[in-house]
C-alpha cells in the first residue's frame, strides 16, 4: 500500500493483514510520514528486503507495525535477532509476527525451511521472478503437497480474480492443509501501489467462505516466541531466577538443533533407554471394547516410565550449558529416579526434593534414588507433597544461580520449560507415526489418549498430531474420589486461570487465590495445575478432557493385567479406564499412552484389591 485514501479504502474491506513496502528500489516503496488510522484488528505489516535490523526496528516503532514480511536473504539468526530486539525495544507482551518469504519456481527444497522453524511465525511462498515479490504470476501449488512442516503459511505470487477457482480447488487439497492466508498484490493494482477496491471486494466475497474456514482450522497449538500457548504460559518468575531461565530460553532451541546434541540424545534413547518403545496392538482389550486399541509402551523404557526421555534430554542440555549440579522435584519418585539415573550416568551431583509425606508413601523409590547416588531432601513446607517439593527445588535454584540446572519433571513451569519438556517427550508421537503407518498403513490414528498430571507424557503423545484435525485428542485427568467430592485432581474442571510455579495456566485454588491440595490415588497425577499447552487445548476445545476416579482407574489397571499380561502404572490406568465410559467405533484406531509400569504401585494394588 502506498496512498493514504487507498489505504483507508482497502482497510474498510477488513483484511487480516495490510502490507507496506519499505524498500527503496520498489515502485511501491512506502515513503509517507505516517500510516492513516486503521482498525486495530488489521495487522500492519512491514515488507523488507535485506534491510538492517536498526532500519526495521525504526519502522516498526514509527508505524506501530505488528508483523514483518522478510523478502530477501535474511538468515535464521537475523529473524532471531529481530525478535529479541523487538522484545527489548518495542514490546515484550505483543510479540512481532515474522513472516519469512521463500520464492518457488519449478521446484523447491523444503529443507531450507528447517532452520527457520523456530524463529518465524509463518512462511510465505511466492513466485520466483525478477523482483523480490510482485512478479504477477503463480507457481505450481502442487509443490506444496510435499510441505513437511506444520507451520501455517501464506500463499502468494500472482493471485488475482482469475485464480478463484484454482484457490477453491487448492483449499480442498492436501497441499493447503497449513495454508493460513492468501497474500495478493500486483493483480489487484491499477498502478504499482494503488489497489483496485472493486476487484478486491469481488475477490473477498467469492472466497469468504473458504477463507474463514481456513482461518478457523489452522489454529496454532504450539508455543509462541514469548512462551505462550494462547493465553497460557509465560514466565512469572522472581527476578532472582531471571538469569537462569533466560539463559535456558536463549539456548534451548539452538542446542536442541545441534547435530551432535541430536546424535547423542538419539543414541542414548536407543542404547540406554531402549527406544523405540513398541506400539502394541492390544488384541484382547480391543475385542472387549469392540474397537482397535494400540498401546504405546513407555512402560518398557529404562526406569519404567516416559520420564526418562525428558531427563536424558535435560541432562545433555545441562552439560551443554556447563552446569554440574542437578536439582529436581518429585512426587511419586518416578521423575526423581529418572533424574538420579541420568546424573549417575553423567557423573553429576543430584539433589531431589520430595515432600515429607511422599517420602513416607514411596519408600522403594526413595531407596532407588539413594542407591543411584542422589541426595533426597524432604520438603517440609506447606502440604509437604509435590507442589511443595517443586517450591523447594525453585528455592534451591534461587540460592544457587550459577552452577545448577533444574530438571523439571513435567510440561510445567516457566517458559521455556513446558516447550522444552514437550520437545524431548515428542519422540513418543514421532515413533507412533511411523509405527502406526507400518502396522495399519496410515500414520494417523482416530484418537490419542493419555493421562495428565502436569502433562508431559500427554504432550509428547500429542505433539506431532496437534495440527492434524482428523486426529482426536483425549486427555484424562484424575477425578480422585469424584470430581465433586472435594478430593480430586481434575484441574480442567475444578481449576481456574492463575499462576503456579512460574506459569499462567489452569490451577486448583481457593477464591482468594491460594493454591489448594489435589487428591488422587496416583501420586503422579496429584498436581494442582496442568501444563499451559493443555490449558490451551482445553480452552480451544482441541482436546476432549475426561476425568477418571480412583476406583475406575484401579479396575482398568487390573483388567489390563488379566487381558494383556501387562501391569500398568496407576497413572496410565486412568487412560485405560476411558473405554468403560466412552464408545468408539469398531474401526476406530485408538492409541493409548501406557506411560509407565506398575511395579512402583504394587503396594497400592495389593492394599486396594486385598491381594
Amino acid at each position: 500500500m502506498k496512498y493514504q485514501d487507498n489505504i483507508k479504502n482497502v482497510a474498510a474491506l477488513q483484511p487480516d493483514y495490510l502490507g507496506f513496502i519499505f524498500y527503496e528500489k520498489s515502485a511501491r516503496n512506502f515513503d509517507s510520514e505516517s500510516i492513516p488510522d486503521i482498525h486495530e484488528a488489521i495487522k500492519k505489516t512491514g515488507v523488507f528486503v535485506d534491510a538492517s535490523l536498526e532500519f526495521v526496528i525504526d519502522k516498526i516503532n514509527k508505524h506501530n507495525l505488528q508483523a514483518v514480511q522478510l523478502h530477501g536473504n535474511e538468515s535464521p539468526e537475523y529473524c532471531d535477532d529481530l525478535k529479541n530486539r523487538h522484545a527489548k525495544f518495542v514490546s515484550v507482551s505483543h510479540p512481532l509476527e515474522i513472516i519469512k518469504v521463500f520464492s518457488v519456481k519449478d521446484e523447491f527444497n523444503f529443507n531450507r525451511l528447517k532452520p527457520y522453524e523456530a524463529v518465524c511465525d509463518f512462511f510465505l511462498f511466492d513466485t520466483k521472478g525478477k523482483h523480490p515479490g510482485g512478479n504477477g504470476y503463480t507457481f505450481d501449488w502442487n509443490l506444496l503437497n510435499h510441505y513437511p512442516s506444520t507451520k501455517p503459511f501464506f500463499l502468494s505470487g500472482g493471485i488475482g480474480l482469475e485464480e478463484i477457482e484454482d484457490i477453491k480447488q487448492f483449499t480442498n487439497s492436501k497441499a493447503s492443509k497449513y495454508c493460513y492466508a492468501l497474500d495478493v498484490n500486483s493483480k489487484f493494482e491499477i498502478e504499482p501501489g494503488l489497489k483496485n477496491i472493486e476487484a478486491l471486494k469481488a475477490f473477498k466475497k467469492n472466497l469468504s467462505e473458504v477463507l474463514d474456514y481456513k482461518k478457523e482450522h489452522v489454529m496454532n497449538y504450539n508455543v509462541n516466541e514469548k512462551g505462550y500457548y494462547g493465553e497460557f504460559g509465560g514466565a512469572f518468575i522472581p527476578e532472582m531466577l531471571y538469569p537462569n531461565v533466560e539463559e535456558l530460553r536463549q539456548n534451548y532451541l539452538k542446542v536442541m538443533a545441534e547435530p551432535d546434541f541430536k546424535a547423542e540424545f538419539d543414541k542414548l534413547l536407543k542404547d540406554y533407554v531402549g527406544r523405540p518403545s513398541p506400539l502394541y496392538f492390544a488384541k484382547r482389550l480391543s475385542e472387549k471394547y469392540n474397537t482397535k486399541i494400540y498401546l504405546k509402551r513407555e512402560d518398557l523404557n529404562h526406569t519404567g516410565a516416559h520420564k526418562i526421555n525428558n531427563t536424558i534430554g535435560q541432562i545433555l542440555m545441562a552439560k551443554r550449558l556447563g552446569k554440574h549440579r542437578i536439582i529436581a522435584e518429585t512426587g511419586a519418585g518416578q521423575h526423581g529416579v529418572a533424574t538420579a539415573t541420568v546424573c549417575a550416568l553423567m557423573g553429576l551431583e543430584c539433589i531431589v526434593y520430595m515432600g515429607e509425606i511422599d517420602i513416607a508413601r514411596q519408600a522403594p523409590n526413595v531407596a532407588r534414588m539413594k542407591m543411584l547416588g542422589a541426595k533426597v531432601v524432604p520438603a517440609l513446607s506447606g502440604s509437604r507433597t509435590l507442589k511443595d517439593a517443586t517450591n523447594e527445588a525453585i528455592r534451591d535454584w534461587i540460592n544457587n544461580p550459577v552452577d545448577t540446572h533444574y530438571i523439571i519433571g513435567s510440561a510445567i513451569g516457566p517458559h521455556p520449560y513446558p516447550d522444552m519438556v514437550t520437545r524431548f517427550q515428542a519422540v513418543i508421537s514421532e515413533e507412533i507415526k511411523w509405527q502406526l503407518k507400518e502396522q495399519t498403513g496410515n500414520e494417523n490414528p482416530d484418537y490419542l489418549v493419555a493421562c495428565i498430571g502436569g502433562g508431559s507424557n500427554a504432550a509428547g503423545t500429542y505433539y506431532h498430531y496437534l495440527h492434524e484435525p482428523e486426529v482426536g485428542i483425549i486427555a484424562v485427568e484424575a477425578a480422585g474420589l469424584g470430581v465433586d467430592s472435594g478430593e480430586s485432581a481434575a484441574t480442567s474442571v475444578l481449576g481456574k486461570e492463575g499462576i503456579i510455579h512460574g506459569c499462567k495456566t489452569l490451577l486448583m485454588q481457593t477464591q482468594d487465590g491460594q493454591i489448594t491440595e489435589p487428591y488422587s490415588i496416583s501420586a503422579g497425577l496429584d498436581y494442582p495445575g496442568v501444563g499451559p499447552m493443555h490449558a490451551h487445548l482445553a480452552k480451544t476445545g482441541r482436546a476432549e478432557f475426561m476425568a477418571i476416579t480412583d476406583e475406575d482407574a484401579m479396575n482398568a489397571g487390573l483388567e489390563l493385567c488379566k487381558l494383556e499380561g501387562i501391569i500398568p502404572a496407576i497413572e496410565s490406568s486412568h487412560a485405560l479406564a476411558i473405554f468403560e465410559q466412552r464408545q468408539f467405533k469398531p474401526n476406530d484406531v485408538v492409541v493409548v499412552s501406557l506411560s509407565g509400569r506398575g511395579d512402583k504401585d504394587l503396594n497400592n494394588y495389593i492394599e486396594y484389591f486385598k491381594i
Binding site: 514466565a235 531471571y242 503456579i500 487465590g513
Partner: protein, 254 residues
C-alpha cells in the same frame, strides 16, 4: 506526591520493616503497623500471605502458612486496613505474590489500595516486562508505585531497564537467595553494592535480604538509601508477640 517519594526525599537513611499480615494472630496487623511507626520505622511492607511463596525462606513461609490458617485473605486484610490512614502516616507497601491479586482482579486490587491509602506494591513474581506491558497503566491510574527487585546476577542492561520503569525505589536483593538465608555481608556483596551505586540510577536503592541487626543495617545503608528487614522481625514477633516491637526497632537503630 506519593508518600514513598516524599520519604525518599528526606535527608536520612530509611528503615523499612516487613511483616506477614495475620501473624502471629489474625488481628495483629494494625497493632504491628502502629507500633512500628511509633518507634521510628520509616516504611512498612505488609506481607499478603500466599500458599506458595517461592522467593521466601523458612521463616516467612511458616508465618505465611500460619497467617492463612488464622484466616487471612485479601478481603480480610483490606477490611483491617480500611481506617489505617486515620492513625498512620508513613508509607505503606503491600508485598505479595501475583496470584491472589490476579484472582481479586488487578484493577480492583489497585483501586482498593488507593482507597485505603496504600502507596506501593512489591510483587516478586510479576516480571518487569509483563508489568510494563499489561499493568503499568493501571498502577499509575491509582497512584501506586511498583517496586522491582534486582540481584547480583541482574545485568547492567536489565538494571537500566528496570530503573526506567520504576518510579520509587529499586529493591536491591543483597545476594542470590531466598529471604532469611544470609547473615552478614562479605566483599562479594559490598562490591556489588558499590557497583550499583556507581551506576547513577534515577531511582534510589533500598537493600533487602540478609539484614537482621544494627551491624548489617549500618553496613547496608552505607551503600544505599535504606534497608529492609523481614525474617528477623518475623522471628522477633514469633518469639515475643507484638508487645516488644520497641525493643526490636531500637536494637536496629541504636
Amino acid at each position: 506526591m506519593n508518600r514513598i517519594n516524599k520519604k525518599l526525599n528526606e535527608d536520612k537513611k530509611l528503615l523499612s520493616i516487613y511483616f506477614t499480615a495475620g501473624y502471629p494472630n489474625i488481628d495483629d496487623t494494625v497493632t504491628i503497623i502502629e507500633n512500628l511507626e511509633k518507634n521510628g520505622v520509616d516504611m512498612i511492607e505488609i506481607g499478603l500471605p500466599f500458599s506458595d511463596p517461592l522467593a521466601d525462606g523458612p521463616t516467612i513461609q511458616a508465618s505465611s502458612t500460619a497467617a492463612l490458617k488464622n484466616g487471612m485473605t485479601t478481603e480480610v486484610l483490606f477490611e483491617q486496613l480500611k481506617d489505617i490512614r486515620k492513625t498512620v502516616n508513613i508509607p505503606l507497601i503491600i508485598m505479595g505474590y501475583f496470584n491472589p491479586m490476579f484472582q481479586y482482579g488487578v484493577e480492583a486490587f489497585c483501586k482498593k489500595c488507593q482507597e485505603i491509602g496504600i502507596d506501593g506494591l512489591i510483587i516478586p513474581d510479576l516480571p518487569v516486562d509483563v508489568y510494563h506491558e499489561e499493568y503499568q497503566a493501571i498502577f499509575e491510574k491509582y497512584g501506586l508505585i511498583n517496586v522491582f527487585l534486582i540481584t547480583p546476577q541482574t545485568s547492567d542492561e536489565r538494571i537500566h531497564y528496570i530503573d526506567s520503569i520504576s518510579n520509587g525505589f529499586i529493591y536491591m536483593v543483597s545476594s542470590a537467595s531466598t529471604t532469611g538465608a544470609q547473615s552478614g555481608f562479605g566483599t562479594v556483596q559490598t562490591e556489588y553494592f558499590e557497583r550499583i551505586g556507581k551506576m547513577n540510577l534515577n531511582n534510589p536503592q533500598v537493600i533487602g535480604f540478609g539484614i537482621s541487626n544494627n551491624e548489617t543495617f549500618t553496613q547496608a545503608t552505607q551503600y544505599a538509601k535504606g534497608a529492609i528487614i523481614g525474617s528477623a522481625f518475623v522471628k522477633h514477633v514469633t518469639n515475643n508477640g507484638v508487645n516488644s516491637i520497641d525493643t526490636f526497632v531500637n536494637s536496629i537503630l541504636n
